[in-house]
Symmetry: C2
Subunit: 162 residues, 2 copies
DNA sequence: ATCCACCCTGGAGTGCACTCCAGAGTCAAG
DNA sequence: CTTGACTCTGGAGTGCACTCCAGGGTGGAT
């Protein structure tokens, strides 16, 4: 009972992140260091929970932690013009736009192929190989897209203490 | 002049990959070991170039090298039913579909915000932060998407020998 | 007093897909 | 016969975003 504020585990629970991840964010300067209790425990304000949720969302939209750091820095500094963030956003918009289009083409072809397979009961992998081969005839210098979610950790099973 | 076939550098040039990458693919069993000349040089057939292009494309569509390996294995085995590849494709279709929808929403919001910024000459980062915050209210357990292309290496500057 | 779930630290390890390095051999052209 | 661009190997290193570990301290409940 030494200064109010959320413990790191409470913050973890509220955000769906793990405590080590939150410490990691602090260690790379993404999150500013939390005030400590007399015994060294981090004590967080509710606003940190908001900030972490923001980070999670920005990340799910394709921003790297470094970029999020830039955005957060500007955001904390107030309403300054921040043309850098503007640029960053424009580049993302561009990338996102291209990715959507490539994915949509792929989706349509893959869906069509799967439908064919669902019809006749004897699928071969020829079709798949062909649609992969014919996808994106255009210079194929497309950036990769990580569709493989790192396993979302099961919500922390922390016994409610208090 | 010891057995015809492309040298690894030739293959690299034709595919846009680097020689180490091609060796790496062989080392993980993605590419089957190429026949060697008397002095140990790998000698590739033209079909390998096709295979590598296939790999590149599949990769750009979000398949991991491991998944590509599975597909290739089945593909080489002929036209067997391969329900595993079918499953794999269905899962990808699902993931791709979700990703497209999230990205499209984000794109629309981001584009709108940037348009506003283009109008009035004094952008602040409030808007961006808000659209990131409001994006995807739905449980945000969305997998990440790597929009950040690893730098596409400049085409190898290999002096045409031969 | 004893639990036991939490908290702390620094540092090492993970997974993917490369990328680089040192040290040695090969080969066609000049 | 030298040069120089290529080839080979094994192993180490990179970047991102964590994730785990050992070893130790804290604090509310019984
Ligand atoms: Zn970015
Ligand atoms: Zn196939
Ligand atoms: Zn996959
Ligand atoms: Zn802002």
């Amino acid at each position: 009972m030494d200064m109010a504020g959320l413990l790191i585990g409470d913050v973890a629970e509220r955000t769906g992140l793990t405590a080590p991840t939150i410490r990691y964010y602090e260690s790379i300067g993404l999150l500013k260091a939390a005030p400590r209790s007399a015994t060294g425990y981090r004590r967080y304000a509710d606003t940190t929970v908001e900030e972490l949720r923001f980070i999670k969302k920005a990340q799910s939209l394709g921003f790297s932690l470094e970029e999020i750091g830039e955005i957060l820095k500007l955001s904390r500094a107030g309403d300054t013009p921040c043309s850098h963030v503007l640029d960053l956003s424009r580049r993302h918009l561009q990338a996102v736009q291209e990715r959507i289009q490539q994915l949509a083409r792929f989706r349509d072809q893959l869906a069509a192929e799967l439908a064919k397979w669902d019809g006749k009961k004897e699928p071969t992998c020829r079709g798949l190989c062909q649609i992969i081969s014919s996808a994106e005839e255009r210079e194929a210098d497309a950036p990769s897209l990580d569709l493989h979610a790192r396993d979302l950790r099961a919500g922390s099973r922390r016994k409610a203490r208090r």
